[in-house]
């Protein structure tokens, strides 16, 4: 195996993890929230009760772990691959989440929604083909630091 093919393999493996774990995390969160039931009212007491229920739900924790898996793969792949390559490649997640929603949760997806997802993927592909860095790296950053800043790196 050449070093180039090894890099390709590594990149596509991590992209695969992203495209699986990101939507899977969303679907698990959705299942977890649906299991908790509809929120009857949005009063502070009800929200506090919901907050406790969220963090004692195994399904939601599985979703969070899955999203952490996505985030780790995303961060790692960005350490060598171009952002302009990774971002459009990850747009397939929108399609995967719809497929998972349909097959795992039994959601009904109308043709218009499928078409909308396809248009979103096209939009993300176009955004991803624009230069990933448009700011000048040598110029100083604008002075927008909030007063809470403790240290400048």
């Amino acid at each position: 195996m050449t070093p180039g093919s090894g890099l390709h393999l590594k990149t596509f493996f991590l992209l695969l993890i992203m495209v699986i774990f990101g939507p899977l995390g969303d679907v698990l969160l959705s299942k977890g929230m649906k299991d908790l039931g509809e929120i009857p009212n949005w009063s502070p007491a009800e929200l506090a009760h919901l907050f406790v229920a969220i963090f004692t739900s195994g399904m939601i924790w599985l979703g969070i772990v899955s999203l952490i898996g996505f985030f780790v793969a995303y961060t790692l792949v960005l350490s060598w691959a171009d952002y302009s390559f990774v971002q459009p490649a990850s747009s397939f997640s929108y399609g995967v989440v719809a497929l998972l929603g349909h097959f795992a949760l039994g959601e009904v997806i109308t043709p218009l929604r499928w078409a909308g997802i396809l248009v979103i993927c096209c939009g993300v592909l176009i955004v991803g083909h624009t230069p990933p860095r448009t700011t000048d790296h040598t110029t100083p950053e604008p002075t927008m630091e909030p007063t809470t800043t403790l240290e400048r790196g």
């Binding site: 929230m33 929603g101 929604r113 248009v119 979103i120 630091e145 007063t147």
Partner: protein, 124 residues
Amino acid sequence: MIEIILVFGIVVIGTGGEICLTRAMKTIGEVHDFRPRALLNVFGRAMRVGWMWIALLLMAAGFFSLLGMLSLENVSFVVPVTALSYVVGAYGGALFLGEKVTRQRWLGVLLVCIGVTMVWKGRG
């Protein structure tokens, strides 16, 4: 009405958090060393930047908005709608980070908006 507020939370507040995160990481500077010890050092420096704390607060609000929305709507509806963050990201990047948003990027953002409108209309 609550759905609009939650979408606002996911898209505007959540993306606002990501913009603050970008601002914080730009303050830290580009990361070259990816060894665990060096990454821990970057993490420690990042946590001393005020923008990072604002980012975490806003992103947490965005996450809970996502959970709220997922309790009301199907995931195959909610996740595509979150693509509106590309619109907020393009505006926010241009306004607050001085990024140059090209015509091509605006075209992509426009397509995302059209797609989200179709997803919204196709709720069934």
